[in-house]
Every structure is written in structure tokens, then in C-alpha cells.
């Protein structure tokens, strides 16, 4: 799951932490958790659509 972790961190860091401060705020932590779940849901949707299309 190395590539998934890299992609999630890339996308969610960009979205949740536009201005990195001296520590993760609780709002940033919550955003990261939500974003991660959302990214995995998006991955599942894309994966299913791709399988349907190519089979």
C-alpha cells in the first residue's frame, strides 16, 4: 500500500495543510483523517468503474 499512502499524503497534505505551522492543529488532523477516508472511497469508485469498463 506504499503508493496509496504516497498519493493520499500528497493530495491530503496539499488540501488540509495549505500553510504548515509549528504543529498539526486539531482541525488539520481531522481534515487529514476525513480526507484519507474520502480518498480511499474515491479509489474504490474509480477502481470499480475501471474494472466495469475494461472487462
Amino acid at each position: 500500500a506504499r503508493m496509496l499512502i504516497e498519493k493520499i499524503n500528497e493530495k491530503c497534505f496539499e488540501k488540509c495543510i495549505p500553510k504548515p505551522g509549528s504543529s498539526l492543529s486539531s482541525g488539520e488532523s481531522l481534515c487529514l483523517t476525513n480526507c484519507m477516508q474520502k480518498y480511499m472511497a474515491a479509489w474504490n469508485t474509480v477502481s470499480a468503474a475501471y474494472i466495469t469498463r475494461i472487462k
Partner: protein
């Protein structure tokens, strides 16, 4: 190896369609109906687009 090619495609499609479809602020863990259909359409139109390009290239006699 075929599995790995499939996974790479899904990773790249998710990356690209995430940027196209998930433009709003993160407020919860679920993707809503509009985002979901945007993601599905994104995958399908991307493949349509690729087929259009390949067909045109063939039509041109594979000059590229």
C-alpha cells in the same frame, strides 16, 4: 506484473479524477452523489478520450 499495471492505472486515474472532481473543502468522510458520478464519468470519459486519440492516430497512418 499485470496486477501491478492495473494498480498503477487505478492510482493514476484516482489521482487525476480526484483533482478534477473533489474540488470542494473536506468536511466529512463520505463522497457525495455528485462527486461519485463525476469520478465514474471521469474514468469513462478518459478512456473514451484515449480511444478517440488512438483511432485518429491510426487513421493518420500511424505517422507519429
Amino acid at each position: 506484473q499485470q496486477k501491478s499495471k492495473f494498480q498503477t492505472n487505478v492510482h493514476n486515474l484516482t489521482d487525476m479524477c480526484w483533482s478534477k472532481c473533489m474540488t470542494s473543502k473536506i468536511t466529512g468522510t463520505a463522497i457525495d452523489k455528485g462527486e461519485n458520478s463525476c469520478l465514474e464519468n471521469c474514468v469513462n470519459r478518459f478512456i473514451d478520450s484515449q480511444k478517440t486519440i488512438v483511432k485518429q492516430l491510426d487513421h493518420m497512418g500511424g505517422r507519429a
